[in-house]
């Protein structure tokens, strides 16, 4: 009697924690629906749903006002291009937030790196200048990390300080002028590095095929083991179909800028490390409970340092992309971008208290924010109303996943 009862409550209310005795393993046949529900529940998928709803609303609105289709390939790749800089920083910010820290200085570091690139490229060439810019960025990360971890000052105030100080250095370095590159070779390298478009039709079809294959393999294996379809394999199958469809429709004309490619590569790398390696697990552990991590023999300071350095390096890379894109820099460049960066990460469900966050969702968060401004521009919404709408959408998007899921965010 008791069992039936607790199982009933199990099935009928996934959010309430069942009182099932912990001693018995959850019966396999019962685990499936809840797993599905969790994976496709608001808490896990909230930010994607929010993004989807926004895109739908904008598509309908633009169709209604008789403009060019909002969902054109060009517009979608535009949004990706526009969000690429922020997304790169937001991905690294996710990592730093996962470790339980905070970095307000990213935008300043990016500006500094761009300034170094632009300032040096003419004299020492593009690639050496990129090296110098990245070096400067990494040093900034070292500085941040060392002060936070070894002096032990709160990350918020440290990076607020370096935000100001590094912006000051940019001002000193540029002496309040806009810098630009002159040399045609450098300009050519920059263009090749950043703005060149890459056809992605074929690669997309390949990736789709791989996904389909992997998904089918996983599904078959599970079938053989007598278990049903898992959400992961369904996801892979669906993703594969989508990729192939988009690739086939877009064909060889489908192309994105290199910035988007870099962003996607960086995101995949970080996602891979976080999801599949022990380094990832340790990063989550360091943020989730630093004391537990320390007692398990994890070098907490080192992982947190590494996150700071990664974050600044990513900012440096964003700066290099920024510099190459505009081939000039003014001292106010990227000012205030840190809030957009952090907002992307948090919209993606990253916890400010460490221990939870996901790169893919952060990406969705960034896309959400840039889709919004893109939508404003496409619909030519009055400048005065944009702030109100943007703020409201942010809160609503956050509400979608918060209200949907009680309890804790998963670490990935």
């Amino acid at each position: 009697m008791a069992l039936t009862n607790s199982h009933l409550s199990h099935a009928s209310d996934p959010t309430a924690r069942p009182v099932a005795p912990p001693r018995e393993a959850a019966p396999v046949h019962q685990a499936l629906p809840t797993q599905w529900r969790r994976v496709f529940g608001l808490r896990e998928m909230g930010v994607y749903y929010a993004l989807l709803i926004l895109v739908l609303v904008l598509a309908v609105a633009s169709a209604y006002t008789g403009r060019v289709s909002y969902l054109s390939m060009q517009n979608i790749t535009n949004v990706m291009h526009q969000s690429s800089l922020t997304a790169v920083m937001a991905i690294a910010m996710t990592v730093i937030l996962i470790t339980g820290n905070f970095d307000l200085s990213v935008a300043s570091v990016a500006a500094l790196s761009a300034a170094v690139l632009i300032g040096l490229a003419d004299s020492i060439g593009f690639w050496p200048a990129v090296g110098a810019a990245m070096l400067v960025a990494v040093l900034a990360g070292l500085l941040n990390g060392a002060i936070v971890q070894y002096v032990g000052i709160n990350a918020f105030i440290v990076t607020l300080g370096t935000l100001t100080a590094i912006r000051g250095i940019v001002l000193i370095y540029t002496d309040g002028r806009s810098l630009s590159v002159e040399s045609p070779e450098v300009i050519a390298s920059m263009r090749a590095f950043e703005s060149g478009r890459v056809a992605i039709g074929l690669p997309l079809i390949c990736i789709g095929a791989v996904l389909l294959f992997a998904g089918a393999a996983a599904a078959l294996r599970r079938r053989r083991e007598g278990r049903g379809l898992s959400p992961a394999s369904l996801g892979m199958l669906m993703g594969g179909v989508c990729a192939i469809a988009v690739g086939a429709v877009g064909g060889s004309e489908l192309s994105v800028s290199k910035a988007v490619i870099y962003m996607l590569i960086f995101a995949s790398l970080v996602w891979f490390v976080l999801t599949f390696t022990t380094v990832g697990r340790k990063l989550y552990a360091v943020g989730g409970n630093p004391e537990a991590a320390r007692l398990s023999g994890i070098n907490v300071s080192r992982y947190r340092m590494a996150a700071f350095i990664l974050c600044s390096a990513a900012a440096g890379f964003a700066g290099v992309m920024f510099g190459s894109r505009l081939r000039s820099i003014n001292p106010a460049a990227l000012q205030g971008a840190e809030l957009t960066v952090i907002a992307s990460a948090i919209l993606g469900g990253t916890s400010l208290f460490g221990g939870a966050g996901s790169v893919v969702k952060t990406l969705a968060g960034a896309m959400l924010l840039f889709t919004l401004t893109n939508g404003f521009n496409m619909l030519n919404l009055g400048a005065n109303y944009q702030g109100l709408i943007e703020g409201t959408v942010i809160v609503i998007a956050a509400a979608i996943y918060t209200v949907g899921g009680h309890g804790r965010a998963r670490a990935h």
Binding site: S62, R67, V68, S72, Q74, N75, N78, H81, Q82, L85, R167, L171, D175, G176, R177, S178, S180, S195, S257, F322, R325, L326, S328, N330, P331, A332, A333, L334, Q335, G336, T373, N374, F376, N377, M378, L379, N380, A383, N384, Q386
Partner: protein
């Protein structure tokens, strides 16, 4: 007696403000007076505090790029009450909606300014040359940030010129940036996607035009790009390369010099006239007459 003059920039991170400060300092050096340069970092509050601090230091003259024209009225009052000469640079003092530019606030020693309505008109006149005749043309405007008086003034002048030239036009998009090239690029990209048949972009400043030109090139579009608030080094280069079709020459360093001169004259008693209106010529610039506008910022 040593003469000390103060300059409070809106934000030194804008090359425009920095160039104005450079001109101001150079002129002071030539005139033999000391300078105090303060950066208000785009905050009204900070600018007010800076002026208070300058008054406490008993400087002989103050010039500012007002972060907020209306608020600045109070500061002018306070400074002139303390018998300190005040010159407004680059931005009007008083309610820009109600007071014409040339009606200078009576307590000011001088207003040294680019007339932005006129600058907008110059851009409009330039645009007319590039626009096809005989049909309603579609125009996209790349605004600065909301809340700035110049945003309205430049658009106003621009439209005035088009109307005067009898051009039939439709503003299909008018979207804000925050005065940065990065936002300029994104906004142009988006507007172009939404309106592939656009004829011309009007940008409120060279900075956004720079970003915009990248977007136009990336889209392989041949839409024209006209800017105002030009005369910057990067902008002039872009005009030379044909990335921007034309702009309007502004000269912040000249403004700084003129402001320093006006303050010095007032402080030394050479010219104690109040409410002078000082402006300078703002010609439209294209590839052909770039030499007329040596870049000052």
């Amino acid at each position: 007696k040593d003469i000390t003059l103060g300059y409070v920039a809106n934000s030194m991170q804008f090359p425009y403000d920095a160039a104005l400060g450079k001109g101001f300092q150079e002129a002071c050096k030539e005139l033999g007076c000391k300078t105090v340069v303060i950066d208000a970092r785009a905050s009204v509050e900070r600018q007010g505090n800076a002026i208070e601090d300058l008054i406490a230091q008993k400087v002989d003259g103050i010039t500012i790029i007002a972060t907020d024209s209306v608020v600045a009225l109070g500061w002018v009052d306070r400074a002139t009450d303390a018998k300190i000469n005040f010159v407004a640079s680059a931005a009007q003092i008083g309610d820009t909606d109600k007071v014409p530019v040339k009606q200078v606030y009576s307590k000011l020693t001088a207003l040294v300014i680019t007339d932005d309505v006129v600058a907008g008109e110059r851009a409009g006149e330039l645009a007319v040359k590039f626009l096809p005749k005989g049909r309603t043309v579609k125009i996209g405007i790349i605004e600065g940030a909301p809340g700035f008086a110049v945003v309205r003034q430049r658009t106003e002048g621009f439209k005035k010129a088009l109307t005067a030239a009898g051009v039939k036009f439709q503003i299909v998009a008018s979207q804000p940036t925050d005065w940065t090239p990065a936002k300029g690029e994104a906004v142009c990209q988006n507007i172009l996607t939404a309106n592939p048949d656009l004829d011309l972009f009007f940008s409120h400043a060279d900075d956004m035009a720079l970003g915009c030109s990248r977007a136009i090139r990336a889209a392989n579009s041949n839409v024209k790009l006209v800017s105002t608030g030009g005369g910057s080094k990067l902008g002039n280069d872009a005009i030379k390369n044909g990335e921007i079709d034309g702009s309007v020459c502004t000269k912040p360093a000249t403004i700084g010099r003129l402001a320093a001169k006006a303050l010095y004259d007032a402080a030394t008693g050479k010219n104690t006239k109040k409410a002078q209106y000082i402006s300078y010529d703002t010609p439209a610039i294209t590839k052909d007459n770039l030499a007329a506008c040596p870049a000052e910022w």
